[in-house]
């Protein structure tokens, strides 16, 4: 267990009617860590993120961020306290430019920047995510790779202390994955703790400090990537669920 957790989850359970999406899940993330969450489809990864940021109310359990209880807060309140997320299926504001999209995060996120300060923040984020050249383009005209970057850029502009990335590498080609991995490291080096859900096991292993493996809503392993990925329970879960994913 990390000595100084920025995020701590205790006994988190989420049920939809009769279906249990998350069962009694507990873990802690240290400040400055890159923490991976992996698991087969339907393991409850996205539900976990939704519960963390208050988009869904957990059935039981507690989420603490920087010591403060997040349960019951609305999503925007959680984000303004410094815990932000991206969406697996990108959700750009299509009729705004890239710059305007990012400025929403700068204006209303944890930083609440206005005027020149906001413009500086936006320019800085666009530069770091490699979107500066598309700043004036309408978001609706971007390629999928750029849309994934925009999703990250907007969330970064909100100045989170901890950023939850939901499958930002899905649908990218190998060279794009490499640059996404270096972007993730760059984000952490900028002082942001990163929580990432990923399908690409190797990409996760290459960038994370620790990994949590979910299966059917329960934790089956947690620890440094090398050890976790050779854990028999993890191998079984992956091979049992989907051969292709284990190979990827």
């Amino acid at each position: 267990m990390p000595p100084d957790p920025i995020l701590s989850v205790r006994g988190l359970t989420k049920r939809f009617g009769g279906l249990t999406a998350l069962h009694d899940l507990s873990f802690e993330v240290a400040a400055g860590e890159i923490f991976g969450v992996i698991g087969p489809n339907g393991a409850g990864k996205t539900t976990l993120f939704s519960c963390l940021v208050g988009a869904q109310a957990p059935t039981a359990g507690e989420v603490r961020f920087r010591g403060e209880r997040m349960n019951g807060l609305s999503t925007n309140a959680v984000v303004r306290r410094g815990l932000a997320r991206t969406h697996q299926i990108v959700r750009p504001f299509r009729e705004m430019t890239v710059e305007e999209n990012v400025s929403i995060g700068a204006h209303f996120g944890a930083g609440r920047r206005r005027g020149a300060e906001a413009r500086r923040r936006v320019a800085d984020v666009l530069e770091r995510t490699g979107l500066a050249r598309r700043a004036r383009s309408l978001a609706g005209t971007l390629s999928i790779g750029d849309l994934k970057r925009l999703e990250i850029a907007r969330a970064l502009a909100a100045e989170p202390a901890c950023l939850c990335l939901d499958e930002v590498m899905g649908g990218l080609n190998p060279s794009e994955i490499v640059s996404a991995m270096s972007l993730v490291r760059n984000i952490r080096d900028g002082g942001v703790t990163v929580l990432m859900i990923e399908h690409h096991v190797h990409a996760v292993a290459g960038v994370t400090d620790r990994i949590l493996v979910l299966n059917f809503g329960e934790k089956i392993a947690e620890g440094p990537p090398r050890g976790v990925l050779s854990d028999p329970a993890v191998v079984t879960a992956y091979v049992g669920a989907d051969d292709e994913e284990a190979a990827s």
Binding site: R85, H87, R94, S103, F108, G109, A110, R112, R154
Partner: protein, 318 residues
């Protein structure tokens, strides 16, 4: 390029305000109606266009403004001092309605607002302090049309200026984000309920102010005049036909609608078919140009400027 519309707007505003100097009373009346329509359309557009929350219950705010003015005037208050209280009551009512209603999304919100509008109309025509269905008359006293005209014109100019200011502000950006994807907006820290409530209150207050001036001008209000179906339709249809979510759209729509209204009143054959015209316009706009006249103009302009339309791949490469 950006200066031109601004200059045109300033000239138009100055002309409207100075109109009593050179226009005769009949024409001035028409401009008064136009200003009234511009206020309703532009104010509605702040919530319905910028934030994308389509409400069909705005006649409630018009009614609140009008009734507050008449009731306070009957209690001995100078009519022009009743404007602010009317706006405040309408804003408070909008928050009261909005707190629960903004939990609903899209069409569900719209249906709820039909319910609210109907409930207010029914209550106003059945309780006794509003004079029931026979309505209320302003206390006898001197009434200055020019003063009322100036107030209405100034309010129209102010409303358009406010909506232009909103589009440039962080508040306006938040509304645009809410309109395009409310969950994504929330995930970036936008407190959507708070902003929707703000937009609702601002537009409700502006509509209530127009309602107060309306009551002072006609010196008599009744459910059949304040909650007139044609009027409540125009509040929604003018911005939609003109182009929701833009500053110019509602103004354009208001011009179209008040011209139509004036023509409708003078030509008997048209008077009986206004619903055909309104309904037909709405159908056409929804099927062919959901961004209204402004959207149509933009499309035409774009075609004039660069005739060959780039295929998407080329556009991306550019």
């Amino acid at each position: 390029m950006k200066r031109l519309p601004l200059a045109a707007a300033a000239v138009l505003a100055a002309f409207t305000l100075a109109a009593p100097l050179f226009l005769e009373r009949g024409t001035l009346n028409d401009v008064w109606s136009l200003a009234f329509a511009v206020i309703l359309a532009s104010a509605w557009n702040i919530l319905g266009g910028f934030a994308g929350q389509v409400s069909l219950g705005y006649s409630a705010f018009l009614g609140i403004g009008a009734y507050t003015t008449v009731l306070l005037s009957l209690a001995g208050v100078n009519p022009f001092w009743t404007l602010a209280p009317g706006a405040v009551v309408a804003a408070l009512f909008s928050v009261l309605i909005g707190l629960p209603a903004f939990r609903l999304r899209g069409p569900y919100f719209t249906i709820a607002t039909i319910g609210v509008g109907e409930a207010v109309r029914v209550v106003a025509s059945s309780v006794s302090f509003t004079g029931g269905s026979s309505g209320l008359r302003m206390p006898a006293g001197s009434f200055d049309f020019t003063l009322n005209y100036e107030a209405m014109a100034a309010l129209a100019v102010a409303t358009v200026a406010i909506s232009a200011a909103v589009t440039r502000s962080a508040f306006g950006h938040a509304l645009a984000a809410i309109k395009q994807d409310i969950d994504a907006a929330e995930a970036l820290g936008v407190g959507s309920t708070r902003f929707k409530l703000g937009a609702h209150a601002l537009s409700a207050a502006l509509v209530a102010l127009a309602g107060s001036l309306y009551a002072i001008n006609f010196q008599y209000i009744a459910p059949s005049s304040v909650f007139d179906f044609r009027l409540s339709l125009a509040i929604v249809l003018a911005p939609i036909v003109g182009g929701v979510g833009t500053v110019a759209g509602p103004v354009l729509g208001a011009v179209v609608f008040s011209t139509l209204q004036i023509k409708l009143l003078s030509v008997p054959a048209l008077r009986d078919s206004y619903l055909f015209i309104y309904g037909g316009l709405l159908i056409l706009v929804m099927l062919y140009e959901p961004k209204g006249l402004v959207g149509l103009a933009r499309r035409l302009l774009a075609r004039v400027r660069r005739p060959p339309v780039l295929p998407p791949e080329a556009a991306r490469a550019a």
